[in-house]
Amino acid sequence: MGEQKKTFVVTRFDPDRDDAPTTREYEIAVQPDWKTLDALNFIKDHVDGTLAYRWSCRMAVCGSCGMMVNGEPRLTCKDVLSQYGDTVHIAPLANFPVVRDLVIEFDGFMEKFERVKPWILRAKEKAVEEGTHRQSPEQLADFQHFSMCINCMLCYAACPVVSNEPAFLGPAAIALGHRYNLDSRDEGNGARNQVFRGDGTVFSCSYANECSEVCPKKVDPAAAVNQAKIGALLDWAKGLVLPRGGPE
């Protein structure tokens, strides 16, 4: 059976040696059922052990392996290699500082994520003796798809506002904050809307919809961000007439 070869043009960057990122080409034989991650693993195992990149679960649930493949943000473990021609460009995720090769610095994302308080906020915790929170399937349906986010950050790579406005909270952080705003067990809308209207404001979103186009888990962050704008608007209007209350 004939071997198919592809050339991988991979971004390399070693902060101890390089002023700026460069590229290196690797030509390898590929299997028809490979994902892009399989090619990277082959390169690292057999051709160039110095190549650095993140990966883990190989099944699109951990969110580790996000990279730019031929200019598009992709999960390399999910990305079918046979869709590409003879040359495949692999670069680190766009809009993030680059630590080394294909590894990006994502502490900036973690900081934005924590600011939206992505956990159940209640004025008073329900005592264990009182039993569990009851939630109907309809109540779950309100927010379930927003909870599917695996923090892969492909949406941040695609978002034009993230490119231009460093303070913007970004699609995943806002979607996850909104997920809790919609959760019937949560009482933290007031606190989160303060964050949504502060630095990093949800209103910076220009509804490009790129985030939802690239999301591998169909979270639809664009829907969340734009619903969050309405929530923030109502919160602002309410704040004009009512004093602020609720857990902070």
Binding site: A91, A94, P97, P166, A223
Partner: protein, 146 residues
Amino acid sequence: MSVPAHPQAMAPSRPGRTRTAPPQRPDQAPFGGRYRSHTLFGATGFVYLLLGLLALEAVWALGGGSASWSGFQASLASPFMIAIHAISFVSVIFVGVRFFRLFPKAQPPRLGPVRPPPAPVIIAALYAVWIGASVLFAAILAGGIL
């Protein structure tokens, strides 16, 4: 090659222990691939700003008497202004189509106990209002009614 992103894009509040390379925008941005539609959508801001100012000029001329109104109408009759309005018409249609496609998912999942109708129903209703109101308004402006 790609364009640099803002140098502080996604930067953490404290720098890490090693030097990082600056963030880059995706290769396609801002005019390529999917970003083209988004950039065009933003650029319609020029059209809307102009149309708002022209409407202001129209009302001002109307309030200034018959001669000033005729003067305003005459100013719209130049090939240049007609071309501007033709481009504006295309822009307005583009804005409507793109906005209506994205409108349903921006609605909250419910208001109290009431859920919004399915997306296709919302979009159909929006187009019905757009077409209906446009036909009515055009008929009024063109002298057909009132």
